[in-house]
């Protein structure tokens, strides 16, 4: 793990600005996927809220920087605000289960977008400009890259410690059987709210970095439900509920996306759709589980594993 971080820190010294920008996008998706893991992966509550908090953080940074605040201070305020909103929304929303929860979080994301479209403070549908960063392209590319990397490291550490802490075990217990978890003395409401807050503060922070870098925000860009979808799909590709899964999933997917079909932008969503279908059918437990099985049984059994995966949940 240390090696990977080391490589990510050194990378900008050897790379062109284009390459750095690519990795910045990968890190952004990884932040969303890792934070989704708190509520969706560990707790088993399928949230579509990442886009809501990503957009919220982006707009907080935009509005505060226009009022003259320091960039890093706006990130802190944005994530605190995101966490507060998650706390207030989480209390009623987390009483819902299954698809109702999914729809409620979807509704929250769409409602925020409609609000940003109509409020004066957000600039409405015309969007909002941010102060331009001072310095040449070499400087600001690295500045944003390291800001994004910082947020990603924070997210990873939070995830790492939660899974090794009482909280993480409690969340997994809720996922497996919420009523049984409550019977063993876990305060399920409190645990779920903590998970939801954790899954909201990091997207808000990442959204802030995105906003300063983009220098212009539109509601339709930052409250795009595709951010939520990507967070979920990357986690699934890697392995839901594991520490490394979301990270592996986003790195692999975005990297592949970039090399395989970056030339054909109109086919981007086509390929993403196809990959989603294939992952759900053949890798329902993700790549990490596949690697584990392959290590036990050898590469020759790949076909058997994939075939048994698709047989597992059929009627």
């Amino acid at each position: 793990m240390g090696m990977g971080l080391f490589a990510l820190i050194l990378m900008p010294s050897f790379s062109e600005n284009d390459g750095i920008r690519k990795w910045m996008d990968i890190l952004m998706i990884a932040i969303l996927a890792m934070s989704w893991n708190f509520i969706g992966g560990l707790t088993g509550y399928p949230s579509f809220a990442p886009a809501a908090f990503f957009g919220l953080g982006a707009y907080v940074t935009a509005i505060l920087m226009n009022a003259g605040f320091n960039f890093f201070l706006t990130l802190a305020i944005g994530s605190a605000f995101g966490g507060l909103i998650a706390l207030l929304l989480g209390i009623p929303i987390l009483r819902l289960r299954g698809h109702y929860f999914a729809i409620a979080t979807f509704g929250v994301a769409e409602f925020f977008r409609e609000l940003a479209d109509n409020l004066r403070i957000t600039g409405g549908g015309d969007g909002i400009n941010l102060p331009q960063i001072v310095g040449g392209p070499d400087y600001f590319t690295r500045f944003f890259y390291f800001s994004m990397l910082g947020v990603a490291v924070l997210t990873f550490l939070a995830q790492y410690f939660v899974t090794r802490h009482r909280l993480g075990y409690g969340l997994v217990a809720i996922r497996e059987n919420e009523d049984a978890a409550a019977m063993t003395g876990i305060d399920t409401t409190k645990y779920k709210i903590i998970a939801f807050v954790l899954s909201s503060i990091f997207p808000a922070m990442g959204g802030g970095v995105y906003a300063y870098r983009a220098a212009f925000l539109e509601p339709i860009d930052v409250f795009d439900i595709i951010f939520s979808i990507k967070a979920i799909v990357m986690s699934m590709l890697g392995g839901v509920g594991t520490v490394m899964g979301p990270l592996v999933g986003s790195f692999l997917m975005e990297y592949l996306a970039d090399y395989l079909w970056s030339e054909f932008t109109e086919f981007h969503s086509l390929m993403l759709g196809l990959i989603i279908v294939l992952v759900v059918l053949f890798l329902p437990r993700g790549l990490m589980a596949l690697f584990q099985e392959l290590r036990l049984k050898g590469w020759s059994s790949l076909g058997v594993i994939l075939r048994s995966n698709i047989q597992r949940f059929r009627v």
Binding site: P46, G107, V108, L274, L281, P284
Partner: protein
């Protein structure tokens, strides 16, 4: 008079909303699948009607059965070939699978149909009835009547036919239904096909009164979310009630808060109903 006019508009809109949502409610209620492809089926139904009208001059109301039959076959195949493979997986798997399919289909639709907004304009499109200063467009009334009739047919099918009873039995208890000799794989595929057929027919209706494009599907889908949650799952009258309430809330909301916030009102209503009464206004408790 303004209020009466808005009331009439709301009811006409509510009827088509109910029709849009009823297939979604069926699939969700029976199989616990949040079908993201629902809006896409509506959009495809609309395009079937549009192209039949544009290329062969088929009257839009005559193409309804064609659109229903074609999309029934498509829906049946999708469920049999893909979704049935993961029906017993954790529930958000089916959601993500249908989402992946939605991205594929919408992308292809943009490629083949272009992103332009289209609307079917038959010769009688501008007819309207006027009484006491109230205007009632003929096409909207026709859409309303057919939409409500379609919902009624589905209600009759579920209540009276053998297949309808098998679907309801499967919804109540999967394993017992199987023991009684119900072929679950087939019943699921029929249910999904019915959902797609009803969606496509309402899409055909929508294409006459409103503009459609390949990306309209998201709008139809979020309306279905809202209507099903407001009305509650598990019965067709829930979809009717949800559709009417949303129609009223949108039209009166637009009057008081401005048309820009019309969509926001729908989402706000959705979140409020989930807070206050998660099972919906007419839903049965514990029915997921």
């Amino acid at each position: 008079m303004l209020y009466v006019q808005i009331l009439i508009n709301s009811i006409l809109l509510g009827g088509i909303y109910a029709c849009i949502a009823v297939g979604f409610s069926l699939v969700w209620g029976v199989m616990n699948i949040l079908n993201v492809l629902h809006g896409t089926f509506l959009m495809l139904g609309g395009y079937i009607t549009f192209w039949l009208f544009k290329l062969y001059g088929v009257d839009p109301f005559l193409s309804l059965p064609i659109s229903a039959i074609v999309m029934f076959v498509v829906g049946y195949t999708v469920q049999r070939g893909l979704i049935n493979k993961i029906v017993r997986a954790p529930m958000f798997m089916s959601l993500i699978l249908t989402f992946g399919l939605q991205m594929l289909v919408v992308r292809l639709a943009i490629y083949f149909f272009t992103g332009d907004y289209r609307t079917v304009q038959p010769s009688y499109a501008s007819f309207s009835l006027s009484y006491f200063g109230l205007t009632i467009p003929f096409v909207r009334v026709a859409i309303f009547v057919l939409g409500v009739a379609l919902t009624g047919i589905l209600f009759w099918f579920m209540a009276k036919t053998r297949t309808g009873r098998a679907i309801r039995a499967t919804r109540m208890d999967l394993d017992s239904a199987q023991l009684m000799g119900v072929n679950i794989g087939n019943i699921y595929a029929i249910t999904y096909g019915l959902g797609a057929a009803v969606a496509a027919t309402s899409g055909s209706l929508v294409s006459v009164g409103f503009a459609i494009s390949p990306v309209s599907d998201v709008e139809f889908l979020s309306k279905s979310f809202i209507i099903c949650t407001i009305g509650g799952l598990g019965n067709i009258s829930g979809a009717l009630a949800g559709g009417l309430i949303l129609g009223l809330a949108e039209n009166f909301g637009a009057l008081y808060f401005g048309p820009g916030l019309q969509n926001a009102i729908g989402y706000l209503l959705l979140i409020l109903v989930l807070f206050v009464r998660p099972s919906g206004l007419l839903g049965r408790k514990g029915f997921q």
